[in-house]
Subunit: 376 residues, 2 copies
């Protein structure tokens, strides 16, 4: 049996919640969990250099998007470049998604069959096709440390029949992915649990995928527009269905409260475009709530964004200056807020890990929510 | 008599040309000349952090634009922030222009009188007024290390009568600037020689301004669209008209050949938006000529931009990757080329200084032109 690319070590389990402290041992370094992973859709975390991600944000793993990289510049070109790490100059770990979520988001532009999904490129309208095998071929070419099985993410509000059908196909596709993917000592392939907001379907999905014995499991189809109560309910139900000893990855979650709730539910990994997208729109995440830097109240605010933040932006710049940069449409504005927002979330995960270690995660949540001004 | 903010030391004069090696002693550090100064129009060198300017580009002085900063965020706000250095987190030197060039570039939107210039803001259309005294007030508030007297830059092709009138007013305005500006121990005020492409007017302008005894002199109204021969001719005529012992600043010049010709003519300082503007448009300056990174020939170019460059971009990224970033409209593309283009010009000035030191500036020009593919 081949040595697996990933080894997951659980250091501590919270006696009062499902949270756990762990270490992901991966080809490009060890990662303490729970962890937040910045998203680098097109072979770049928007507005950031890899050096800033490493030294300022202190990120150790980032995401790449299979759908985008398949279309542009193409996985074969990236393979020719020596893989995604080398192409983009990132020597930390990379997780690639399966392309499923983006393809299904195309709506009327795609057609699903048992074989795979035919769709039209959002760039030039040409016809493309991704099957489970193609998704593996692309991700093998990219050379990510963690790959995702090709799945269908059913839309929020889809009927039981639709979600059941889609979830069962996702399991069949997961099997095909596992059969195709051979480089298990270099790249760890995760299965993705689907089943929407139907608990029996989540249970069936988790059970069937567990039998396939993936080195880790993702939860898809949550945080897709549902109310927060429903998010927490399905998350708390689904996470414990997955093998205790394997890492659990909740896809597409990045707001501070969702990250805290995820850790409590026993999630080890999260990712989201939220911090960088918000940054480009002029919004900062802070310990005292969100700030819209375009707001005129910041014109004379000669103070830092967040007194509790240790990032480059907070060490060197005032709200007044960042306000000016956004009013003047200067690139540096997006840069400074991207650094801050990413560091804020990575910092939050560090605080969550400390709280788990000290067995005070629930108290940490209360304190964080109060400072931030969240309603529980 | 007050101690002046600027002291200029000439270390060596080239025996075969008018080039000289010098050091500008300024409040925010010493600067070896000839020097290229990156432009930070709106309190930021576009797409760059001050740290990158210092550590990657190795710039020691940058420009700020009085017109832009007056309109947004306003010089009073910057004064309140502690001055432009503190507002933008730059601890090197800053030179501010007078606002003249930008105001006159507004064309039909401005009206010139002896008192000053009335114009409409390009941002919101409101009426504004800049006089020589107002330009000083703004630049005093910004707290730049070197300030420019308020001048009129006549357009290329303007009649003798127009240029004469405008040049004489520029001299009268220079006198008013000198009278208004009191903080000479903190900020050095330069006069600006005008006179278009009429040599007798250049001579009169230089003579009259020299009598006013500024600590340095700029040459304006060159590199405004004229053919290269005309540029070199008027430059070589005008530079020696200025006091030998004072620094000479040629405004708005930044292409590699113009920088070399300027040094040969005895110019000590140059600035231009060219390297950063080109960078944002996908063009790299290299020792082997200009490269348009959007060109499809770079798709598979897994090599660095310029093998002779020592910048962060050239140490870490391929043309193929930068091509991808521009095709995908990623901010990092503009960032990487901005670092490279600025470093390229700062590096060129280092090479020019070495060539002056070694008394081989003319040979350096030949070698550079041949490699670059310039016609002489």
């Amino acid at each position: 049996m081949k040595k697996e690319a990933l080894r997951f070590e659980i250091k501590k389990v919270d006696p009062r919640t499902n949270a756990r402290l762990g270490v992901l041992h991966l080809p490009h370094g060890d990662i303490e969990t729970p962890v937040f992973m910045p998203v680098g859709t097109q072979a770049t975390v928007k507005a950031m250099t890899p050096d800033e991600l490493k030294n300022e944000v202190k990120a150790k793993i980032i995401l790449g998007n299979t759908y985008h990289l398949f279309l542009r510049p193409g996985h074969e070109l990236i393979k020719e470049a020596g893989g995604l790490h080398q192409f983009m100059n990132w020597d930390g770990n990379i997780l690639t998604d399966s392309g499923g979520f983006q393809v299904f988001s195309l709506g009327a532009l795609r057609k699903i069959t048992e074989e795979g999904v035919e769709f039209r490129s959002h760039i030039d309208g040409t016809k493309k096709f991704i099957s489970p095998e193609k998704s593996m071929e692309i991700q093998n070419a990219l050379g990510s440390d963690i790959m995702m099985a090709f799945d269908e993410c059913a839309p929020y509000g889809a009927s039981y029949a639709y979600v059941k059908n889609s979830m069962e196909r996702t399991t069949r596709w997961a099997k095909r992915c596992k059969e195709y993917h051979q480089a298990v000592e270099k790249q760890a392939l995760f299965g993705i649990v689907q089943g929407g907001f139907y608990k029996d379907l989540r249970e069936k999905s988790a059970n069937d995928l567990t039998k396939l014995d993936f080195p880790g499991y993702a939860i898809g189809g949550i945080s897709v527009g549902e109310p927060k109560e429903e998010f927490i309910d399905i998350l708390r139900y689904t996470a414990p269905l997955l093998p205790q000893e394997k890492p659990r990855y909740l896809m597409g979650v990045g707001s501070p409260d969702y990250l805290i709730e995820s850790a409590i539910a026993g999630i080890d990994m999260c990712d989201c475009v939220l911090p960088t997208r918000m940054a480009r729109n002029g919004t900062a995440l802070t310990h005292y709530g969100r700030l819209n830097l375009l707001n005129a109240k910041h014109i004379h605010a000669f103070e830092t964004l967040d007194q509790d933040c240790d990032c480059y932006t907070c060490k060197n710049y005032t709200k007044a200056y960042i306000h000016h940069l956004f009013k003047a449409k200067e690139i540096l504005g997006a840069r400074l807020l991207s650094i801050h927002n990413l560091r804020f979330l990575v910092h939050l995960m560090e605080d969550i890990r400390t709280a788990i270690q000290e067995e005070r995660l629930l108290e940490f949540r209360e304190e964080f929510y109060e400072k931030y001004g969240y309603k529980k």
